[in-house]
Amino acid sequence: MLRERKIVLFVMGDEEILERSRMVVSQLALEYSVKIVRNYSAAYKIIVEHQVDVMVCGPAEEQFHQNIVDAYRFMESARRLKRYRDTPMILISDVEDPNGYCDRELCCFAVIDTLSLEHRLCETLVQALEELWCTSPHTCPMLRQDKIEARMLYIQNQNVIYPIQCAKVSHILASNRSMEVCLNNGGKYPVRYVTLQQLLEAADVWYFLQCSRSGIINANYVRNIDYTNRVITMCNSDQIAIGSTYVRSLHEQFPTMQELWQRRQNRCMFFE
């Protein structure tokens, strides 16, 4: 199993609102895991059992538009859970809020009234998701402190999840329809039904470099690169072939000693 897709939760009991949001939901579903529920008890179960990244809360099933008490209660409950303290929550409501309860107490990302739903929902969701990726320290992939999700790969094999630290992976090789994640200590984990690209995206670390159509190496564990024979020797003595189209990009990452010397010389000349 790879890092889970970001989850967007929609609580929409009202048919009309759901219908009007359908376009946004279907677009969102291409990139994110979208969950739609009709009432807040189901929504609560989801937030307890998953790590939801954005919540969109509208009127619950069998309720008037004006009755938003359940949504308020749900959002309060969510905010009580530490991991949802900074999660963007978008409220769809026609109810006036003169005291700014949604802003102050619930810390809503935005409140959208039903009249402007089509115009604002898409835009607000994009903003929320952008913020999620770039500014929030809890969710930004580069800044994330979270030990499990930051630099770990979950590999599922026959229903068992193996958490693997990316830093310990030496290289990953694909053959036929399966892949093998090789650790620096010699351990090997077979993985199926994922592509190298998906794995690279899931790992999201700078030191994973693709060296051929079927291989990824960990730059930290490279002992030697032989550009003539197009072979990389890893610290654990494993040898991995370099694909002809990847020689150039690898060359940029790992210049030879001669080139290093040349670059240093150039730099000195430049400063002189």
């Binding site: 307890v48 059992e49 229903n159």
Partner: protein, 260 residues
């Protein structure tokens, strides 16, 4: 990072898993007889906690009798941690024959009167109620064990971890989950989730178990994977797969000696 919960002389989360024995009976007399048996038993020293299962009791709605029963059990077993649990029918408990008082009201009464050292609250009883109850419990010095039971199946590891995290976030002193395995991989899943929780998120002691015979291994391997309490049977088991207390003590000693 606090991972211990100290009650009386028992430090949950420290050292080997604490053994908890259920007191299951319909009447107050049955419960008292079981408590007496525990006190007189040779294995009494191995037992750290007793769990009084309120949902089995016929006298549950009668506060006066309940108060007296809890006080009596605490008197008979003064050194054991007394855990009071009313398991709802949805989570595998006995069906209650009355509608009022509610589980919430009885638990609140027990907490307010400090009639037990620990009270079990279910995760899905609602965040609002749970938070209120935890607030009162903290005032009164009662510890809260928040629990979730799945008697049908075992959810995936991330769901288990998220449920435990939610309990912790709501302010529980101990987070507990019990699941039913359908195959061996489900047991491994639970153990992986326990280790994951322990390694990455746990700020309170975590209690996990896989029920049934298949999951019995999870009851004895707590020290290895990070489960702080294990439930063993004394006279009668309250859940499938509970190991008798004497065997459990032996197994935990073995694990402590050779696997840690």
């Amino acid at each position: 990072m606090i991972r211990y919960c100290k009650i009386k002389h028992c430090i949950i989360g420290f050292d080997r898993p604490k053994i908890c024995v259920p007191l299951v009976g319909r009447s107050a007399e049955e419960i008292i007889a079981q408590a007496d048996q525990i006190r007189q038993s040779q294995r009494s020293s191995a037992i750290d906690m007793v769990e009084l299962r309120g949902d089995y009791l016929d006298i549950l709605p009668d506060y006066e009798v309940l108060d007296r029963l809890l006080a009596k059990v605490a008197e008979i077993l003064p050194e054991k941690v007394l855990l009071f649990t009313i398991r709802s029918e949805a989570e595998g408990g006995e069906k209650l024959a009355f509608t009022t008082p509610t589980i919430y009201e009885i638990n609140r009464h027990v907490i307010e009167g400090h009639l037990a050292d620990m009270v079990d609250i279910e995760l899905f009883s609602g965040a609002e109620q749970a938070e209120e109850m935890i607030g009162i419990a903290k005032e009164k010095g009662v510890k809260i064990i928040m629990s979730n039971h799945d008697f049908q199946t075992t959810p995936d590891a991330s769901t288990i971890v998220n449920r435990l995290r939610s309990m912790q976030d709501l302010g529980a002193d101990v987070a507990k989950i019990a699941v039913m395995p359908e195959n061996k991989m489900h047991v491994v899943n639970l153990l992986a989730a326990t280790a994951m929780m322990q390694e990455a998120y746990a700020e309170v002691p975590v209690v996990t178990m896989s029920m049934g015979k298949m999951g019995a291994i999870s009851r004895i391997s707590g020290q290895v994977f990070g489960s702080a309490i294990t439930f063993a049977s004394f006279a009668e088991a309250s859940a499938p797969g509970q190991i008798p207390v004497d065997k459990m003590d032996e197994a935990l000693t073995l694990i402590e000696k050779y696997c840690n």
